[in-house]
Amino acid sequence: MSELLLFADIDEPGLNTLEVYSRRGGYDSLRKALAMPPEAVLHELEASGLRGRGGAGFAMGKKVSFLPKGGMDKYLVCNADESEPGTFKDRELMQKSPHMLIEGIVIASYAAGASRSFIYIRGEYQLQADVLDAALSEARDAGYVGENILGSGHSLSLVVHRGAGAYICGEETGLLDSLEGKRGNPRLKPPFPANQGLYQGPTLINNVETLSTVPTIIRMGGEQYAKLGVETSTGTKLVSISGHVQRPGNYEIELGIPSREIIYGLAGGPPQGRAVKCWFPGGSSSPVLTGDELDVPYDFNSLAQAGTMLGSGAIIVVDDSTPIIDVALKVAKFYRHESCGKCTPCREGTNWTVKMLERIDAGEATPMDLDIMGSVQEHIMGNCLCVLGDAMAMPIASMITKFRAELEAHMDSRRLEAVGA
């Protein structure tokens, strides 16, 4: 790819300050957007085909257009509660280029007619929250945030809100409850946040990467941006690669390139002499693919066709030195810990899945247990207020299907060990 959009010179010293960001053309997109009517800005966002970068992949322009018209208080919330295991792209963006996010938020709020906005950042990201606070105060002083921004008549308040450690607060309605000062329990949908969100008002919720892309879209024009990537997955995407690879980290890719190119080409593949056993294409919530499925193009639709999802763009690679039971247990224990406990299928399902996996590992299981475990996963999916339970059920079910032979062999050998044979 000739030009990176989000990561261009991301390590330039001082890019987190207004001075350097402005020198690089920062806030020019805001000026351009404010000179257009809000409908025209919205049109550019829709034309760009930008899909949400947080996990669900919903078209961003469409989401903005769902907000009711009218003069009521509308809210924009930036979801910076990046907690999906394996994901760390928003961290790099916020830490190194906080003004890009702020500019994106102001433009999006103009298109949506929102007058109050919040960045909900996970409490663990202390450095990043401090960087954002400093950048925000510069942006306020320069008149990019506040009353009557650059004389356009558009006003926006922006507050950096720090969370306190809960995966569920990355779920949009859990996030809203948490932002209202409650336990982060998800809400029943509908009503969707676009109609009744924060303080029961219309609310637009977008991920950090999505909003950070907005200034680029305004600069390039939506149609030009849509030429990048493939038809149903336009643009570039930040991919976080971790686990058993030689060069873990964040990479900006054009959507639609083969996954092998990311895992082997960019990240160097697993250590010498090892092969890919399985990989999560979009965070630990996505069903795993095996080492034979490395040629799937990395975009929303191709991954969906392969039975998994692009999610947050976090690739976790597991090599053949790791037993699949270890991976399954880690994943299941995480969701058990993070389940908020509101819905029974998720609260009980995650708990019993962990117990069954522990039985398998302890040699106390029978092959029937795999079927029971599979049916537990089926009963979680689609039966809760949010998708946290599904987020465990999908990868676990995929591991049972794809690695059944290994799990059965593991069970047998542990059973033999247990009886001392």
């Binding site: 990561f7 990046e82 109050r116």
Partner: protein
């Protein structure tokens, strides 16, 4: 299979009947006249409340502020927040118990969160956590916890020491990590995340100098 025993109160969950004294009336919103609140803390909580259309939104930042003053969300800390925010202590306790970073029991003043989620554990985080826990031993100054994904899998295995991300860590780093925290020095400066450049080789058009290490916090 081992049977799970029931406690005298009939439940299988230990201590559930100690959570609340059912013979007492629920605590009311504390009276400002009889609840002294440190001036700095009050000012900070009030500043947070002014940020939101609904003052309750300041609950998390207010509890975090009280925790910084008291070391944990003690009954006194919760009373002080309740007094300033005009909320009941029970409401605040219900929030404090939900979030991992709010401590509802006394803890050491240096927090060491070792990430033990999938990416870090593939890179040896479980051994790292055991080593940190052993090295800290019964030192009451340390609050060593195995934490869920901290969002820094590029430096796996990693830890957050008093909020500062360091990694990739080896078992040899553990003693110095604890010593640095104990002495109030910047923790393992050469391994701090803040200094790292992005992994993408196409991201930078030229060689940029390393970012400076973080100042010690707190």
């Amino acid at each position: 299979m081992t049977a799970v025993k029931r406690y005298e109160h009939g439940s299988r969950v230990p201590g559930w009947d100690e959570a609340a004294d059912l013979t007492k009336d629920p605590a009311e919103i504390p009276d400002p006249a009889t609840t002294p609140v440190p001036e700095d803390l009050r000012a900070e909580i009030e500043a947070h409340m002014a940020n939101y259309p609904d003052r309750r939104s300041a609950t998390l930042p207010a509890l975090a502020a009280a925790q910084r003053v008291h070391g944990w969300c003690s009954p006194q800390a919760i009373d002080e927040v309740a007094c300033v925010m005009r909320l009941t202590p029970a409401y605040l306790a219900s929030v404090a118990t939900f979030y991992d970073m709010l401590e509802t029991t006394p803890v050491g003043r240096h927090s060491v969160y070792v990430c033990t989620n999938i990416s870090c554990s593939l890179c040896g985080a479980d051994e790292l956590y055991a080593a940190v826990r052993d090295a800290a031993g019964d030192d009451a100054d340390f609050n060593v916890r195995a934490f869920e994904c901290l969002g820094a899998c590029d430096i796996a295995p990693m830890a957050s020491v008093d909020g500062v991300y360091v990694g990739p860590l080896t078992l040899e780093d553990v003693p110095r990590l604890l010593d640095d925290a104990r002495a109030g020095r910047p923790v393992l400066p050469e391994k701090q995340l803040a200094r790292r450049r992005v992994a993408d080789p196409h991201a930078n058009s030229q060689e940029f100098p390393e970012h400076p290490a973080q100042e010690p916090q707190g």
